[in-house]
């Protein structure tokens, strides 16, 4: 009889200890938000352009986490699709042309003498990359511009151009097909 009692006691004690342990762990190691969304958001290029049909990169990340297609991000292009495919464990597929095509990197440029200072582009810019005030000339901070295109449409005087970024020798990709043509054809050495 006492043996049975001891057994019951021991088992219930163990259950209690583990219960407490699990309870503690669930509080101590609590994960606030869905880590998958964070991970997807990290991969997306953060242009916030909305070409995927969602208002920004994070909403699209949430949509992907909920099973949306991974090929709706033209600024990210193939590299992003590849990364997303690896993360989600699905096959990489070509970019969905309905959402746009992969293009060279561009930045917005305001033709400053045509700008009337309406502030419409400032309101449209998702990353606060446009500087200016009402009735004052506006300008784009090139380093902050993600090239999302969103400022072009609101401009009432069409003074915003999307200009491809200049190739610099530092960002050059050792692509001998994409070099400026000099008077000698470049051949690689070594």
């Amino acid at each position: 009889m006492t043996l049975t009692l001891i057994a019951i006691l021991v088992v219930s004690l163990i259950a209690l200890i583990f219960g407490a342990l699990l309870g503690y762990a669930s509080i101590r190691f609590k994960v606030e938000s869905d880590p998958l969304v964070e991970q997807i958001d990290q991969i997306l290029p953060q242009t916030q352009c909305g070409q995927c049909g969602y208002p920004g990169c994070r909403p699209y990340a949430e949509a992907i986490a909920n099973g949306d297609e991974i090929n709706k991000c033209p600024p990210g292009g193939e590299a992003t699709i590849k990364d997303l495919a690896a993360l989600m464990g699905v096959d990489a597929k070509p970019l969905d042309a309905a959402h746009g095509v992969e293009d060279v990197k561009k930045v917005a440029f305001i033709r400053e003498d045509e700008c009337i200072g309406c502030t419409k582009c400032i309101q449209a810019c998702p990353v606060d990359a446009i500087l200016g005030a009402a009735k004052q000339m506006h300008t784009v901070i090139i380093d902050e511009c993600t090239g999302c295109d969103l400022c072009v449409d609101p401009c009432p005087v069409d003074c915003i151009d999307m200009i491809p970024l200049n190739d610099s020798s530092e960002a050059w990709q050792w692509d001998f097909k994409r070099v400026s043509v000099g008077d000698i054809q470049i051949k690689q050495v070594s």
Binding site: P45, V127, T146, W172, Q173, Q185
Partner: protein, 615 residues
């Protein structure tokens, strides 16, 4: 741990060195160009000085188009520690500041200052540091920085940054290896200017206070070894060491390994193993900068290859177009099936896209090979997994694995195989039987990875800005809504809770207004009634006494007067009790009439008085 100082010193004394893994022995071809002295050449008509010729950031341009500049005049200036100025390498007029083809494998144009040479070569005022041994470390480093010196061995790292070292140094290593085939610029410089190199070493010794200076010269340059040995013989702790010829013994990490058996960690610097290394050309430039105050405006350039008739070394001003050098060395275009000009050596150099490319601070050689002199990498074949590249790699990497992963753009795996430890020496490509341009793949992979990193950082920045903006807009919206809500609440509250009070207030305000009007009306009425009362009183007095003249005169009012006063009294009486505005207005009108009548009455009275007094 690595070999300790005493052990290394013992071995050095016995001329016993270590070795680095791999390496190759390409044909030297150095005697083509090292037989004659370094030539002074005629100035070119135009020089093109790129604003950035080092690793770091460029300075701000401080000259204008059309400005006359003197030899050695600074063209850029900056407060940034990572900026090194560039100087006009001869006197002339600035004719353009703009894009010009850069000394870079891409042939991309970069910001360049073009100067039309006037041929006078008038010098800018140089400010030497007199007796540097009494100067502070900062003064010397500032002088080195202002002279525009960046590592002249090839990397172009700003020398003042390297020299501003606080960690203890055991070995100051002076690199006179020049292991790449064809190049002899350092060789000639050591032979002809060993004394000035020694002065440069003295300055560095004073700055860095190392325990030992090792001057390393490859054993294929016995003349240079001898001259440097003579130049350094007075200094006890300077040792000139002859290093066995093997490519790439001149690599920083490889040379440290050869001299001290110490290995620089993958993500570390030579200073982590107690060493610091300078090229002999840099030492020469430091001596120029400190002792003469002369900035880095020229350097020794080897012009060589079978396609030039007179291979040689020349003192080339920074910014001299390559075409000028080739003309000087009698370039023979017939010897080349197609133009092929290499800047740098055959192992690590790059072909130029234009003969207008300027000589920059890191340009040590212009190589123009004749047909068949150098292999052309046009018939790349499949990798046969022979592993010859792994045997040749001086960094003990696995080039074939790096190749697979780089070609497949599997950059993570490539990084696992330590892609970034590759020094791009080209030994693997040199030994490859399939003629695969291996280094090209590594460079591409490295550039891609760096770009991805930059883009990732940019994306992160954009995300932070986007979220900050979202938060700000939300905050504004919330603040606005809160304001509206509070205002509405306040309104509602005044209507409900404090409703009575508010109504009372309004009522009170109305009452005040009425009372005011009433008071005004009263006042008028009082005036009127006062007038009428007076009359009554007078009349009343008149009747019983009627003695005095005044009372007499007053006692005889006309009938019309009395009637008027009666009418007034009738009118005034209801006015005084009435409250409403209409009545007040009427009262006012009535009061005005009453006043007018009273006046008339008085006038009449006076007239009568006058009459009476006349009588």
């Amino acid at each position: 741990m690595f070999a300790d100082y005493d052990h290394i010193m013992e071995r050095l004394a016995l001329q016993q060195l270590w070795d680095f893994p791999g390496g190759v022995h390409p044909q030297q071809n150095k005697t083509k160009s090292n037989q004659t002295e370094i030539q002074r050449i005629a100035l070119p008509d135009l020089i093109h000085i790129p604003v950035k010729q080092h690793i770091g950031v460029n300075g701000d341009i401080i000259v204008k188009v059309g400005e006359l500049v003197a030899k050695g005049q600074p063209l850029t200036a900056s407060e940034s520690a990572f900026a090194v100025p560039v100087h006009a390498s001869t006197s002339g007029k600035v004719i353009a500041i703009g894009d010009h083809v850069a000394a870079h494998p891409s042939g991309i144009s970069e910001l360049t200052i073009s100067i039309e040479v006037d041929g006078l070569d008038t010098a800018y005022e140089f400010k030497p540091l007199s007796d540097y041994t009494k100067r502070t470390k900062n003064e010397i480093i500032e002088a080195i920085c202002q002279a525009g010196i960046s590592g002249m061995g090839g990397a172009g790292f700003p020398t003042h940054l390297k020299s501003n070292n606080v960690k203890p140094i055991e070995f100051l290593i002076i690199n006179g290896i020049e292991c790449e085939p064809y190049i002899t610029s350092d060789d000639r410089l050591m032979r002809e200017h060993a004394w000035q190199i020694r002065q440069g070493i003295d300055i560095l010794y004073h700055l860095l206070q190392p325990k030992q200076v090792i001057v390393a010269v490859e054993n294929n340059k016995p003349e240079a070894f001898n001259t440097l040995s003579i130049a350094c013989q007075q200094q006890d702790n300077y040792q000139v060491v002859s290093v066995p010829t093997k490519y790439p013994a001149g690599g920083e990490k490889q040379l440290i390994q050869v001299l001290s058996s110490r290995e620089v960690p993958a993500d570390g610097l030579p200073v982590d193993v107690g060493c610091l290394m300078y090229n002999v050309g840099t030492c020469y430039a430091i001596a120029d900068a400190v002792i003469e105050g002369k900035p880095l405006i020229e350097r020794v350039v080897t012009i060589t290859g079978d396609a030039v008739e007179t291979p040689q070394n020349v003192w080339a001003r920074i910014g001299t177009p390559v075409k000028h050098l080739l003309t000087h060395a009698n370039y023979d275009s017939d010897k080349q099936a197609y133009p092929r000009i290499i800047m740098g050596g055959p192992m690590m150099g790059f072909t130029l896209s234009s003969v207008q490319v300027p000589v920059v601070k890191i340009t040590n050689c212009i190589l123009v090979p004749a047909n068949k002199e150098l292999p052309t990498l046009e018939d790349e074949r499949a990798c046969i997994r022979c592993s010859a590249c792994a045997d040749a790699c001086p960094a003990s990497l696995l080039p074939q694995q790096l190749f697979w992963h780089s070609k497949a753009k599997e950059y993570e795996q490539a990084q696992e195989y330590n892609l970034f430890d590759c020094i791009e020496c080209g030994a693997c490509a040199y030994v490859c039987p399939s003629e695969i341009p291996l280094v090209h793949y590594y460079r591409k992979a490295k550039a891609d990875i760096r770009l991805q990193q930059v883009e990732k950082e940019k994306a992160e920045k954009a995300r932070i800005r986007f979220e900050a903006r979202k938060a700000r807009l939300q905050k504004d919206k919330d603040a606005r809504e809160e304001k509206h809500r509070l205002a509405a609440q306040a309104r509602a509250q005044t209507m409900t809770n404090d409703g009575g009070a508010a109504k009372d207030k309004i009522a009170a305000a109305l009452a005040r207004a009425k009372a005011k009007k009433a008071a005004m009306a009263k006042q008028n009425n009082e005036q009127i009634s006062a007038v009428s009362e007076e009359t009554y009183v007078e009349r009343a007095k008149e009747r019983p006494s009627a003695n005095t003249e005044i009372s007499k005169s007053a006692a005889l009012p006309t009938d019309s007067d009395a009637q008027d006063i009666d009418a007034l009294k009738v009118n005034a009486e209801p006015n005084s009790s009435a409250d409403d505005a209409a009545n007040a207005k009427k009262a006012k009108v009535a009061a005005a009439i009453a006043r007018a009548k009273a006046k008339k009455a008085q006038q009449a009275k006076q007239a009568k008085e006058n009459k009476a007094s006349d009588e």
